[in-house]
């Protein structure tokens, strides 16, 4: 990787607008939003329900293209409005990691296979993928349940498998939408700290949508959304060092 690319931010969203529906049912979910997250930076995205947080996250996650605006990931322009400038699916599997409120594991694959599959679809050899999947699960503290189907795992264990899956391909950008909502506060904080560690140790940019006020100290920066607009978080400056 060239220095140029290394220096580029993990994600740069520029003047994003997203309009759902039309006419009477029109909803402006993103209203000229710009957001840049550097590599080795973990950002919390706060805001009331319906503010547009998920819309922003899925837009930069390349699964819900904005109506207009531009998205650059790792210094590379990938979306210009709804128009894709790269193969989005290829870009997702190589560069992005997702965690949602629900783990969304594949029910017919065991814990380790759920992590493994993310690497195999990214052309990692099965054996290598399996080994890394095992390592990740151990790292996340679920090494004793690797052979179990998701149904046999607790909510917290499922979510940690989902986190392992998101980390599997060493993504440049990790997007997490209320990842700890289903976890107790101890586990929740553990996951947040893990994200911070991944951001800082693996040069990734991380955006986490959260309502958990107690974990905010984990983040490098906090931004807040309201009515489709972004604004800096007031207490953020205080919470910092």
């Amino acid at each position: 990787m060239s220095d140029e690319v290394m220096k580029a931010p993990a994600i740069a969203a520029i003047n994003l607008t997203k309009v759902y529906g039309s006419g009477n049912t029109e909803v402006i979910a993103l209203n000229d939003v710009s957001l840049t997250v550097g590599r080795r930076e973990i950002v919390a995205l706060l805001g009331p329900s319906g503010a547009g947080k998920s819309t922003l996250l899925t837009a930069v996650g390349l699964i819900n293209p904005p109506t207009s605006g531009r998205i650059e990931i790792g210094g590379r322009a990938v979306l210009e409005g709804e128009r894709a400038l790269v193969d989005l699916r290829k870009f997702r599997r190589e560069n992005l990691g997702f965690v949602f409120q629900k783990a969304n594991l594949i029910p017919f694959l065991s814990a380790v296979e759920n992590v493994q599959v993310a690497m195999e679809i990214n052309d990692v050899r099965p054996r290598q993928a399996r080994k890394r999947a095992m390592d990740l699960l151990e790292y996340l503290g679920v090494s004793d349940r690797t052979g179990n189907l998701p149904d046999a795992l607790s909510g917290g264990q499922q979510q940690r498998v989902a986190v392992a899956r998101a980390l599997a391909n060493n993504p440049m950008l990790i997007l997490a939408d209320e990842p700890t909502a289903a976890l107790d506060s101890f586990r929740g904080r553990q996951v947040m700290e893990l994200f911070r560690k991944v951001a800082h140790e693996h040069d990734a940019g991380v955006i986490v949508v959260t309502h958990d006020q107690r974990s905010l100290d984990v983040f490098d920066r906090i931004v807040e959304m309201e009515d489709g607009r972004l604004r800096p978080h007031k207490e953020a400056q205080v919470a910092g060092h």
């Binding site: 699964i63 699916r89 997702r92 594949i106 029910p107 017919f108 694959l109 195999e120 679809i121």
Partner: protein, 404 residues
């Protein structure tokens, strides 16, 4: 890691049930082509075994397998006189249905041109060929007769001296071989009363005619045995089987015989063709249509099951797309399951068929070429059946994951 197999393991009950259902349907499709093949083999068994080069039949008829053909018994000797002909045999065949031990017994009564033909060409499984000009028969096992058993037909009783296996007529009824004269007397057997009435009628006719009044001895004669009246022709046979001298060209014999106005002549190939075109063709179309219907039904069932299996995991498919899986992975997941269902169904059909088909009352003959053709069809319907599911899966948006 093979996603299709992993999913099947997770859904094993439903998958097995579908496979068994498809397997049974395919077994019927397989059996139908086997029944058709069996039909042809059984229909042409006699023509293929009897070893004639040419068939001489009643003029302008299509031969004894297609319609009634009658030619005089003396035809055998007339044809033998044609240069190039080495051997002639009379052919008599008709089906009778009688009671035997309280069950209906259907026998194709087949005449052998005794003494030239003692039945040496018939594949026996036990016993011997005919050794007397009368009252012996060779029976097929399917008739349920034992070696040495006596069977009363008409006014005479016949002893089973030899047994065959799988020798049946075009209707699937077992063959019984008799001498030609026995076969004819079975065919033309009449009760005593009918004979008496026939003689009385003959007597009345001649007595009331000029000839009878002029020659009273004729009236006496007319009331006697049919065979002692020279003016009455002997019973007719159905065809004459002609063997051509080895080295001689059958074309020459044909060109001579085809000039005779009272007969028609066919080669064995033509006779076979006439038989198949006439009686087997409709059965073939009937069975063919049935097979097409069953194949379509199998495909619809498979399509429905594959579609439901796909829709059940549409959320997982969206998730796979979200994390960047190529369409190849997703299409592979669905299509492999479909093809696997078809393939296992096919193997099951084959396996079940190998037990079931031999127990069928008529021959079911499974030929390799039919098996291969069915395999190709199964592959095609498997792929076809998956298309609906594939289409849905390819269309689903990755952000469907979040709409739960």
């Amino acid at each position: 890691m093979n996603l299709a197999v992993k999913d099947i393991k997770h859904n094993v009950g439903r998958f097995m049930l579908t496979t068994v259902g498809i397997g049974l349907l395919l077994m019927i499709v397989m059996g139908m082509s086997g029944i058709y093949r069996g039909l042809i083999v059984e229909a042409t068994l006699l023509i293929d075994h009897i070893g004639a080069d040419l068939w001489v039949v009643q003029s302008d008829t299509r031969g004894p397998f297609a319609e009634i053909s009658r030619i005089p018994r003396s035809m055998k000797d007339r044809v033998l006189a044609v240069p190039g002909v080495s051997r002639t045999r009379s052919f008599v065949s008709h089906t009778i249905q009688r009671e035997h031990h309280g069950h209906p017994l259907r026998v194709v009564v087949q005449g052998l041109s005794w003494p030239e033909d003692k039945g040496e060409w018939i594949p026996l499984i036990s016993g011997r060929y005919l050794s007397k000009g009368h009252y012996e028969m060779i029976a097929d096992k399917s008739l349920g007769l034992e070696l040495g058993e006596k069977l009363a037909l008409g006014k005479d009783t016949y002893e089973v001296v030899g047994l065959t296996k799988g020798m049946v007529g075009s209707g699937g009824d077992g063959l019984g071989f008799f001498t030609v004269s026995d076969a004819l007397s079975i065919q033309f057997d009449q009760p005593g009363e009918a004979l008496r009435l026939e003689r009385a009628a003959r007597r009345e006719r001649i007595a009331s005619a000029d000839l009878g009044r002029l020659q009273p001895s004729l009236v006496k004669r007319a009331a006697g045995l049919s065979s002692s009246i020279p003016a009455l022709s002997p019973q007719a046979v159905n065809a004459v089987l002609v063997s051509v001298e080895p080295g001689c060209c059958p074309e020459k014999v044909i060109s001579v015989l085809s000039k005779w106005p009272d007969i028609s002549v066919y080669t064995t190939g033509q006779q076979r063709q006439l038989l198949l075109a006439g009686m087997v063709d409709k059965a073939r179309r009937q069975i063919g249509l049935f097979r097409i219907l069953l194949v379509i039904i199998s495909m619809i069932i498979m399509a429905l099951v594959i579609y439901t299996l796909t829709m059940d995991k549409i959320h997982d498919i969206a998730m796979l797309k979200l994390i960047g899986a190529r369409n190849r992975v997703i299409v592979g997941l669905i299509m492999q399951q479909s093809v696997l269902t078809g393939l296992l169904g096919y193997l099951l059909a084959y396996w079940l068929g190998s037990y079931a088909f031999p127990k069928f009352p008529r021959q079911v003959i499974i030929e390799n070429q039919d098996l291969l053709a069915l395999a190709v069809v199964v592959l095609m319907i498997s792929v076809g059946a998956s298309l609906l599911g594939v289409w849905k899966a390819v269309k689903v948006e990755p952000n469907k994951v979040l709409a739960a």
